[in-house]
C-alpha cells in the first residue's frame, strides 16, 4: 500500500462534471511530480453531492476537495500531495462534509444501502469482500434454512423501495410457497421515475450488493435463475453490473454449487429500450420475454405467475441492496432505524432548485424541510421555496404547509404526502403550477402504452385541457373536469401508470387551486411563465 490515497468520484453525474478528465490529469501530474510510488488513486462511486464540482478526497489527511478544472487538480498535486499543504480554497467546508462523509455521520444520516458507494472501487470484487461482502451469502447458505432467511426479511419489516412499499418478506414467502419446476429472481433496475437516480448510483457504486442479495433471494425462494433488467440508457450501470457478475462467477458466488453449498444460481443482464412503463413489474417481465412492455392484468401476481408464467420475485435495486446487511446484522438491528411501520432508511434524490443536488440516505421519518434545507442547503440564489414534488412524477405536489410531514409509507394515506421512489423536487417561486401540471401530464400521455383506453384517453384529455389553460383559454369548469378525469383514469386503468395519475393531478389542483383559478379569465399568467394566446377563431358551421 502506498502512503497516500486519493479517492475520486467517477459516477455518471460526476463524469459530466469532468471526473474522467480530472482523473487522467491526476495520473499524469503524479507522473510529472514523481509521486507515482507514494500516491494511490481510487476511482469510486458517488459521494452524494454535485453542485460543488467533482469530489476528490485525500487520505490519511482526510481532506475533501471540490474540483472544477484541471488547474484545480494541478494545485492539489503540486501543493498538497507534493508539499503537504492542503489547498484551502478548494476544500469543502466541514459542515457540508457531514453530507458527504460517512464516518462523520450526523445523527440523521445512516448508510445501509450506500455503505460502500463512494468508498470502494466498484469494479473490484476484493474491495467489496473486504467490506464484509458476500459474508451474508455465506451465512445464509451455511447457517440458515431458506425459511429462516424469509423469516428474517419478514421480521425486518423491509418494504419495496420502488415506490409501492409492499412487504418484501411476504413477496418472497409467496414465491417460496408456489410450486413450480422453475422460479426466477428479477431485479427491477429500470429506474425511470423522473428525478430518481439512486438505483443508478447504487449500481455504479456498489454493484455486488445487488448481486449478493439476488443470490440470497434465489436460495430463500428456490429460484435458480435471475435477471437484472437495466434501462437501456444506463451505460455506466450496465458496465459495472456486468463486470461484477463476471467476477462473481469467477469467485464461485454464481454458477453451479455456490461455495460448495449445493445451491446453484445463474444471473444475467437484460436491457430496456426506452419505455417508462417497463418499470411496472409485469410490463418489465413482458419485456424480458422479448415483447413490447405492456402490463398484464393482475391478478395473478408475479410471485405465482411471473416471468414465463413461473413464480418470480421482483424487487427494486434499493430493496435488494438492503438485504445483505439485514441478513448479516439481523432484523432487530434493521428495525432500530426508521419508523415502526416503515423500518430502515430511504435513499432520497434531492433535485430541482436546491443548492446541493444529489442523493442522501436517511432513516424513514425524515421531513421534506430537513431534506431541502439541512441536506440540500436551501434554494439556489436564496429564493423562496414555493412547491415540492415528493415521490416522483406519480407522487404528490405540496406547498409549504406540508413540508414538516414525516416521510414514510403511511405519510400519503395520513397526510397526502407521498414518499414514492424518494424524489424531493424543490421548486422556487419562479414556477407556475399550471405549467408544472401540464409538463407532468404530458409525461404520462407520452409514456402511456396505449393498451387500455382510460389511461390512453384520460392522459390525452388532461393534457388538452391544461394546454388550453396555459394559453389563457381556461374555463371555470376545467378544474372539476380535470378532477373527474383523474378519478376515472385511476379507477379504470389497467396498471400502476394510469392508476397513479390522480395523485399528482389532484394534489396540485387542491394545493394550488387559487393559481389555477387565477389563469381563468385573466389577461396573462400570474407568474409570468405560461404564454397566453388569443384563441383562433373558427367559423361556426351552420
Amino acid at each position: 500500500m502506498k502512503p497516500i490515497l486519493v479517492l475520486v468520484s467517477v459516477d455518471s453525474n460526476s463524469v459530466l462534471l469532468g471526473a474522467k478528465q480530472f482523473v487522467n490529469y491526476l495520473r499524469e501530474a503524479l507522473e510529472k511530480y514523481n509521486l507515482k510510488d507514494s500516491v494511490d488513486v481510487l476511482e469510486t462511486g458517488s459521494m452524494g453531492v454535485y453542485t460543488q464540482g467533482v469530489v476528490m478526497a485525500v487520505f490519511p489527511d482526510d481532506v475533501y476537495y471540490s474540483v472544477r478544472s484541471v488547474a484545480d487538480v494541478e494545485k492539489i498535486v503540486s501543493e498538497h500531495l507534493l508539499k503537504g499543504r492542503p489547498v484551502l480554497s478548494l476544500e469543502i467546508p466541514r459542515e457540508r462534509l457531514k453530507l458527504v462523509v460517512e464516518k462523520e455521520k450526523v445523527t440523521e444520516e445512516v448508510r445501509i444501502v450506500l455503505r460502500n458507494v463512494g468508498v470502494i472501487d466498484p469494479r473490484s470484487i476484493d474491495q467489496y469482500i473486504a467490506r464484509d461482502g458476500y459474508f451474508a451469502l455465506h451465512k445464509a447458505l451455511f447457517e440458515m434454512k431458506p425459511e429462516q432467511v424469509i423469516q428474517t426479511i419478514k421480521e425486518s419489516g423491509l418494504r419495496g423501495r420502488g415506490g409501492a412499499g409492499f412487504p418484501t418478506g411476504l413477496k418472497w414467502e409467496f414465491t417460496a410457497k408456489a410450486q413450480a419446476d422453475q422460479k426466477y429472481v428479477v431485479c427491477n433496475a429500470d429506474e425511470g421515475e423522473p428525478g430518481t437516480f439512486k438505483d443508478r448510483l447504487i449500481m455504479e457504486g456498489d454493484p455486488h450488493s445487488v448481486i449478493e442479495a439476488m443470490i440470497i433471494c434465489g436460495y430463500a425462494v428456490g429460484a435458480t435463475k435471475g435477471y437484472i433488467y437495466i434501462r437501456g440508457e444506463y451505460y455506466g450501470s450496465v458496465e459495472n453490473i456486468q463486470k461484477a457478475i463476471k467476477d462473481a462467477y469467477e469467485y464461485g458466488f454464481l454458477g453451479k454449487n455456490i461455495l460448495g453449498s449445493g445451491f446453484s444460481f445463474d444471473l444475467t443482464v437484460r436491457l430496456g429500450a426506452g419505455a417508462y412503463v417497463c418499470g411496472e413489474e409485469t410490463a418489465l417481465l413482458e419485456s424480458i420475454e422479448g415483447k413490447s412492455g405492456r402490463p398484464r392484468l393482475k391478478p395473478p401476481y408475479p410471485p405465482t405467475n411471473g416471468l414465463f408464467g413461473k413464480p418470480t420475485v421482483i424487487n427494486n435495486v434499493e430493496t435488494f441492496a438492503n438485504v445483505p446487511q439485514i441478513i448479516l446484522n439481523g432484523a432487530n438491528w434493521f428495525k432500530q432505524f426508521g419508523t415502526k411501520g416503515s423500518p430502515g432508511t430511504k435513499v432520497f434524490s434531492l433535485v430541482g432548485n436546491v443548492v446541493r443536488r444529489g442523493i442522501v440516505e436517511v432513516p424513514m421519518g425524515v421531513t421534506v424541510r430537513e431534506l431541502i434545507y439541512k441536506f440540500g442547503g436551501g434554494l439556489v440564489g436564496g429564493k423562496q421555496l414555493y412547491m415540492v414534488q415528493t415521490g416522483g412524477t406519480a407522487g404528490t405536489f405540496i406547498g409549504l404547509d406540508k413540508i414538516d410531514v414525516p416521510l414514510h409509507y403511511e405519510s400519503f394515506r395520513d397526510h397526502g404526502v407521498s414518499i414514492g421512489s424518494g424524489v424531493i423536487l424543490a421548486m422556487d417561486e419562479d414556477v407556475c403550477p399550471v405549467d408544472v401540471a401540464l409538463n407532468t401530464m404530458e409525461f404520462f400521455e407520452h409514456e402511456s402504452c396505449g393498451k387500455c383506453t382510460p389511461c390512453r384517453e384520460g392522459t390525452r384529455l388532461a393534457v388538452e385541457i391544461l394546454r388550453r389553460m396555459s394559453k389563457g383559454q381556461g374555463k371555470k369548469e376545467d378544474i372539476d373536469t380535470l378532477k373527474q378525469i383523474a378519478i376515472i383514469t385511476q379507477e379504470a386503468s389497467l396498471c400502476g401508470l394510469g392508476q397513479s395519475i390522480n395523485v399528482p393531478l389532484i394534489s396540485i389542483l387542491d394545493n394550488f387551486r387559487d393559481e389555477f383559478l387565477a389563469h381563468i379569465g385573466a389577461t396573462g399568467c400570474p407568474r409570468g411563465v405560461c404564454k397566453f394566446e388569443k384563441p383562433t377563431k373558427v367559423k361556426a358551421k351552420v
Binding site: S12, N13, L16, A273, G274, L425, N439
Partner: protein, 162 residues
C-alpha cells in the same frame, strides 16, 4: 445492402448468452442497431425473426414500441433532450427551445444535412446535473443555452470533417 449472413451470425452469438429460449430479442435488437449506426433495417429485422423463431410482426411490434429503436435511418448524431420536470424547472425549457432553434427542426425530425436528429426523452437519471441531453451514447449536463450552441457547433465541425 444488409449482409444477412453477418446479421444471422450475430444473432446466433447473442443466443449463446440466453438463460431461456425467448429472452434475447431486445438485447439482440440493441446490438444490431449499434451495428447499423442507429437504426434497424427491415431486412435485418427479418433475419432476427428467423433466427430467434419469432413472427416478423412481433419483431416489428417491439421495434416500434420502444423509443430507443428506430426502423428508419436517423441523423449521425441523435440528440435526446430530457423534457421531464426536474430538467424543466432548472432551465430545461430554454434548452429545448435553443435546440429546436439551432437545429431548425422539431422533435423526431432530422436536419437536412443528415447530421442531427432531435428526440425528446424521459428522465435520464442525471438530475444532479440537470438540465441534461444525451448525444448518441454521450451525456452532457449542467446545460445553458450557450453550452448547447457550443456543443452543436463542435459536433458540426466533427461531423463535417468525416
Amino acid at each position: 445492402m444488409v449482409d444477412r449472413e453477418a446479421v444471422a451470425e450475430m444473432v446466433r452469438n447473442i443466443k449463446k448468452q440466453a438463460l431461456e429460449e425467448r429472452d434475447m430479442l431486445i438485447n439482440a435488437l440493441h446490438q444490431i442497431q449499434n451495428r447499423f449506426g442507429n437504426y434497424i433495417p427491415v431486412e435485418a429485422a427479418k433475419v432476427v425473426a428467423e433466427e430467434l423463431n419469432v413472427a416478423e410482426s412481433k419483431v416489428y411490434e417491439v421495434l416500434t414500441f420502444y423509443t430507443m429503436f428506430s426502423t428508419k435511418p436517423r441523423g449521425k448524431y441523435v440528440i435526446r433532450v430530457c423534457v421531464n420536470l426536474p430538467c424543466h424547472v432548472t432551465g430545461g425549457r430554454q434548452i429545448v427551445e435553443t435546440l429546436k432553434e439551432a437545429l431548425g427542426v422539431d422533435f423526431d425530425q432530422t436536419t437536412k444535412d443528415g447530421l442531427f436528429t432531435l428526440e425528446r426523452t424521459s428522465c435520464l437519471g442525471l438530475c444532479g446535473v440537470a438540465p441534461v441531453v444525451m448525444v448518441n451514447d454521450e451525456y452532457y449536463g449542467d446545460l445553458t443555452p450557450k453550452k448547447v450552441k457550443e456543443i452543436i457547433e463542435s459536433l458540426r465541425a466533427r461531423g463535417d470533417a468525416k
